[in-house]
Amino acid sequence: MNTQAAASVAVSKNSYDINRIREDFPILSKKVHGKNLVYLDNAATAQKPTYVIDKVNRYYTSMNANIHRGVHALSQEATEGFESARIQIKQFINALGKNQIIFTRGTTEAINLVASSYGRWKIIEGDEIIISHMEHHSNIVPWQLLCKEKNAKLKIIPINDKGEIIYEEFERLVNERTKFISVVYVSNSLGTINPVKKIINYAHQFNIPVMIDAAQAVNHIRVDVQDLDCDFLAFSGHKIYGPTGIGALYGKVELLDAMPPYQGGGDMISKVTFEETTYNELPHKFEAGTPDIAGAIGLGAAIEYVNKIGIENIKEHEKSLLEYATKKIEEVPGLRIIGNAKDKTSVLSFVLENIHPHDIGTFLDFEGVAIRTGHHCTQPVMQRFNIPATSRASFALYNTKEEVDVLVTGLKKIIEVFG
């Protein structure tokens, strides 16, 4: 395997060579409205390193074939690429077996898979499902749909003014009717890192399975499914420098084995007659149809890239960026940070007095700065803080303090115009 292109010299002897890392991402040299691109919308999607782009390209130029059933050389090569990406993921989140890794279109599909398969199978009238107030819509709506269908209840763990889960309230919500818990590891709109291990521990005392939405976690902190002891965990490729349209679901074998299939089709069966069908073994049981092979290979490459730099190094770098940005942004008059949790990833959500986030977004765009404005698919969070929207700058492994300065200067200019 050709890995020498992956950040070979980016991290050496405790030094984080940011310039070298930035060179790995071709899009970062782009100009926007004549200015250098300052990409701070990483919580929406991260940019892709050449290493990933090349792997996807190489798949289409020299390996493209359908997987698993072909006997010809190309099909075997494609199958090998696809399956080694599964192994990359397994190792990355420290799963026991590669059959516990199911490829999905992303976190959303993974959650829908569990809600549909496990949920429809297990949840009955009067049952309760617990989520938190800071969930992304993708970890609200699938459970809402399930509750509606089964006449079950959705219970919400409240959050405090800092944007942290009120843990005691969680324990209070758990009772004999609680049949499932699904919580976000890291909030996309607040950056809060939730005490998911504690939640899982408590839930397991009552044999309640827990699903973790790790979409905003895997790219920032080490995620270890065995250490967490979570029952399900989901993440998306595109937030961790991989392609869009691919992600993964991790599940415990005994649960995945017992669950009914999510979608029917090719690849998920072992024998089909018109009378009866027997299903394929894990993970294929949950992978009906031709998957995004190039996407999976790209995701495997993205994980290789992240491993080369080191998730701990990334965490350190982003931590110092967040500290710098949090301090620096306070220079902007009338600015209020939304989300001040003690444990945070590099997400900075804020509101400016009397200036709407949409105007901020448009204005900053002309400074070359890409941020997110709106409700970030977390409308209940906006309702909690009684605001219609926020502006959100989110930092990745390639961002710099100079870019934070461009953001802050831009914000000061906006105040001059609108103030």
Binding site: H356, H358, F366, Q379, M382, P388, V417
Partner: protein, 151 residues
Amino acid sequence: MNSELKELYQQVILDHNKSPRNFRLMENATQHAEGYNPLCGDHIDVYLLIEDGIIKDVSFKGEGCAISKASASLMTSILKGKSKEEAEKLFEKFHDLVTGKLGDSPSIEDLGKLAVFAGVQEFPVRVKCASLAWHTMINAIKGEQEKVTTE
């Protein structure tokens, strides 16, 4: 400021954003509608007092970006005294302006002060901001009480 940006955020728009006209509830309104833009969470209430088919008074309340607030403010200033039909025609023209269908055609002059929104056509994602108040006003006239969304 960049020229395109200057075109969008003209002084008139910034001024109406800062001190919106007719920004109030209307107790004696004959018509009212609520508008919502799910993209940005903007929310607006438009009130109309219509007598004999003529708009005697118009006001609005709500939250929004500079474009949507200024658009609502200018709309209320321009609609007073107009007939329902005139209001509908004006909306069509305004919509053509912000979506770039009007170009340099002479009818831009009929829009009066509303011409300051010409810059919006360069920002397709902001068309909804500029037209939210107008959509809501039309629904109020038609007496459709259901919440309008721009989606």
